[in-house]
């Protein structure tokens, strides 16, 4: 017994080293899973406060850009609103609404809600990038919700605390987004390969379609995360490799991830119903 203690004492540094490394490996395996919930991350309250303080300072240096993007979005929204107003003026049937359409008709309710969130932490140059936004459960954010910006798809909420949430960016090695080519509705999967943060790959586009440079890629709406038709980017190159049955398509992302300041969390009010239905029917959600 004494020898055992002597042995342990002699190699104590090495044993502590092994113990700590085992703990680290456990942490890596436990918390670095793509959808794992975690307490120790940048959604933590204290960490969030530090990051918010930091972004409070750095945002001053980007005020011009942020204002410009918000103003241009305002303009686009106002234009859209005007079109609706004019359509409503022309549409004389609107006044008869309650006559023909029951007031309790739920199909009239929009299934998606948007919540604006301030990006307080962001990275684009790592292999697995995350954002932190200053919106949490107190504002109705839940894990798994989609995140978009005025320019297009940003990512998906990973973990949420009361006032902050971390978002798996589209620039994450394990993030997949179901997308389609807008002009002919061929659907594939958007995947980021690392490296350049402006370019991602569109996979699984079969060889019989003819994608061209400049075609717009939008989300497919085949899942409950993103609404249909949110811009992802435009095709920047199409290659056909001899030994592959799919095209190799590079997509220039419409979102400049390095310049993100405000994003919208998308809440699908019927997500649960649809997910349960699909799960009950035996369809496993294989991608986002």
């Amino acid at each position: 017994m004494r020898n055992l203690f002597a042995f342990i004492y002699r190699f104590r540094a090495f044993l502590v080293f092994l113990l700590l490394e085992a703990l680290c490996v456990f942490l890596i395996v436990r918390y670095n899973t793509y959808q794992g919930a975690a307490f120790f991350n940048s959604a933590n309250r204290y960490v969030g406060q530090v990051l918010e303080f930091q972004s409070g300072i750095t945002d001053y240096f980007r005020l011009t850009n942020i204002n410009q993007s918000l103003a241009s979005e305002n303009a686009a929204l106002r234009q859209e609103l005007m079109q609706y107003r004019q359509a409503a003026l022309i549409d004389s049937a609107a006044e008869l609404d309650t006559t023909y359409v029951p007031a309790s008709d739920t199909t009239a309710a929009p299934p998606y809600n948007l919540m604006a969130g301030h990006v307080i932490n962001n990275s684009v140059r790592r292999l697995n990038n995350y954002l932190t936004i200053a919106r949490g459960t107190a504002d109705g954010v839940q894990p798994g919700m989609g995140v978009i910006s005025p320019e297009g798809v940003v990512g998906r909420v990973k973990t949420v605390s009361e006032h902050y949430s971390t978002v798996t960016s589209l620039l994450h090695s394990q993030m997949l987004v179901s997308a389609k080519i807008k002009k002919d509705n061929t659907f594939g999967t958007i995947k980021w390969q690392g490296g350049d943060y402006r370019t991602a790959m569109l996979e699984y586009i079969p060889l019989h379609v003819k994608p061209e440079k400049g075609d717009t890629i939008v989300t497919s709406g085949f899942n409950t995360v993103f609404p249909e038709g949110i811009t992802v980017g435009t095709i920047s190159s199409v290659e056909q490799e001899p030994d592959k049955s799919f095209y190799t398509i590079a997509v220039k992302l419409s979102v400049d991830f390095a310049q993100l300041s405000y994003v919208y969390v998308v809440e699908n009010t019927r997500k649960e119903e649809r997910d349960t239905l699909e799960l009950d029917a035996g369809i496993l959600p294989d991608e986002q």
């Binding site: 080293f17 490394e21 680290c24 960490v47 932490n121 490296g195």
Partner: protein
Amino acid sequence: MNNSFGLTHIVQFFLFVALQVLLMGNLALYSTGFCFIYVAFLLYLPLNFSRIWLLILGFLIGFTVDVFYDTMGIHAAASVLLAFLRPHVLNLLTPRDGYDNSDTVNIHVMGSGWFLSYAFTLILFHHLAVFFLETLTLQTLWYTLAKTVLSTLFTGIVVVIIQLLFFSPKRERIDYR
């Protein structure tokens, strides 16, 4: 100042974490060169610092950085590796007549050759661990290696700059009274 863990080191801990999170977090040269300056905290600890405490401090600072970086465990694992290797590297680099009591990790006291080989060896191991734990594959081997080498240079140069700026060239005086 003696070789125990004092207020200076606690302040250094927070300073280096703040430097890492607030400044270096947004910095990357050509998307390949990263600066993990927080390792300087472990490098600058006293020479005969307890191995156990070194490991625990390595875990603590790596874990703190992990929390901010959302890379749970990766920096902690790499820092613990660095903390484990540090006494061995120090042994290898022992000067001919051993370490003096007054020796500290200081580029002016120990000489630039000693300091550069000490700092760059440990930083290289640390960065190798970080980048390979991050990818966990060998598919992008060359890219990962390029990242490691460039980042080692980057971090190493910053570590040396901090030495030249903030560490006094005078050998610390020992009070024999």
